[in-house]
Subunit: 239 residues, 2 copies
């Protein structure tokens, strides 16, 4: 089988990181194409709307044989089914998909804390609005979403260490990444709030210790968080 | 088979409308439970995080036998597979899902035009920021998204009247609803921009004429657009 190709921005974790974590955990060979010299044209072609087939609105895009798949949750739906990162049952796969889409929702909201007005303006040009939005996000939205995920993990706790089913799924990986990103962007809020979510944090820690994930996190393939990505640390957004 | 039950806010189209359109087109019996007297407690229970099983973060939620499914795109993934509203092939289903998730993205952005700072504040308390965000949305985001969908439909035009495959899918229904919603919220911008998207508008018109859809739109089951939903008409947001 020809190796998968991931098309994503080469300098940020961003939404591509949810895909990278799944590929790394499952030990699937892949080319992170834009991180190689001359890879950017291939990335741009993957989101060229005029190309026939299934052009994507935005990266990440995964090429898997003849399939070209966009949208993070759809890529994970595919990888989950094909590589044992989701339950085999329809009910289990739908539940994973639902949770992933809820994670995508809070990720979108995390992005909008630094871009509440426009993705086409710099953060510096919408800082005033960003402060309001970030205040709402840390005081209202983070507790609501993470309280939900805590409850989901707690409901399931009698059945294993994972969020869904009896094996690791991509939802566990994505919850790990969500906690990581929020800790980076809003360290004070997270330090204050985390004691409310013991099961979720235990799940995060369990993922971090998975051999493939631990090796990945220690490697150069893991791009450090930075202020070009989705999760950005702007101290002025936390009081 | 016991009829499906839809849990959604009873006074708005909102995200639930994408599910209603799929159920109506496929002629699937369903109870829109919160629209019946005494239905609100059932809706609230469907998003009670503490319940075991698969509680949803927010509506819409669909109960189908033993399945309780949240997140619009996941509900449509289920309905598409079970009721002939998506291709049978894995590639076709992933493509439908990808397009639906891209529709979900612009729907989220449409919501944020009137709530750019906080979903917990009234529109009136974030009107200033809303004007900026709406200006960016109509000048930048609508053209970018709908230009993409136009290209997708155009790429496919040689193969039939639909966005995907050779039969109607839930993506066609959702594109119809997206155009309807944007026309309601931003009539001036849409009137100006629509000539750029002839294939997309033709697809919208084709959906409107489907017998089941036409009957639904003429019925009391179709809730009129209003200023409590996702697509809201605030004239001051269009110059």
């Amino acid at each position: 089988m020809e190796p998968y190709v991931l098309y994503y921005w080469p300098t940020i974790q961003g939404r591509g990181e949810f895909v990278r974590l799944a590929l790394e955990e499952a030990g699937i060979p892949y080319a992170d194409v834009a991180r190689n010299r001359k890879g950017m044209p291939a990335l741009m072609a993957s989101i060229d709307h005029a190309q026939p087939g299934t052009p994507s609105f935005a990266p990440p895009v995964l090429k898997a044989g003849d399939l070209l798949i966009g949208q993070t949750a759809s890529i994970l739906l595919f990888l989950g089914a094909r590589h044992g990162l989701a339950p085999r049952s329809e009910a289990g796969r739908l539940w994973c998909n639902q949770l992933q889409l809820t994670i995508a929702d809070i990720v979108n909201e995390a992005h909008d804390t630094h871009h509440p007005v426009s993705t086409n303006l710099y953060y510096e040009d919408q800082k005033k609005e960003a402060k309001k939005r970030a205040q709402d996000f840390t005081s209202g939205r983070i507790p609501k979403y993470l309280g939900y995920f805590e409850q989901v993990v707690r409901n399931h706790a009698g059945r294993g260490r994972f969020a869904v089913g009896s094996r690791l799924t991509y939802v566990d990986l994505s919850l790990f990444q969500l906690v990581e990103g929020l800790r980076y962007a809003f360290p004070k809020a997270m330090a204050r709030l985390e004691p409310q979510w013991p099961e979720l944090i235990a799940l995060h820690d369990m993922v971090a210790e998975r051999p493939n994930i631990a090796a990945y996190l220690a490697s150069k393939r893991r791009i450090p968080f930075n202020e070009d990505g989705i999760f950005r640390r702007y101290p002025e957004l936390e009081r």
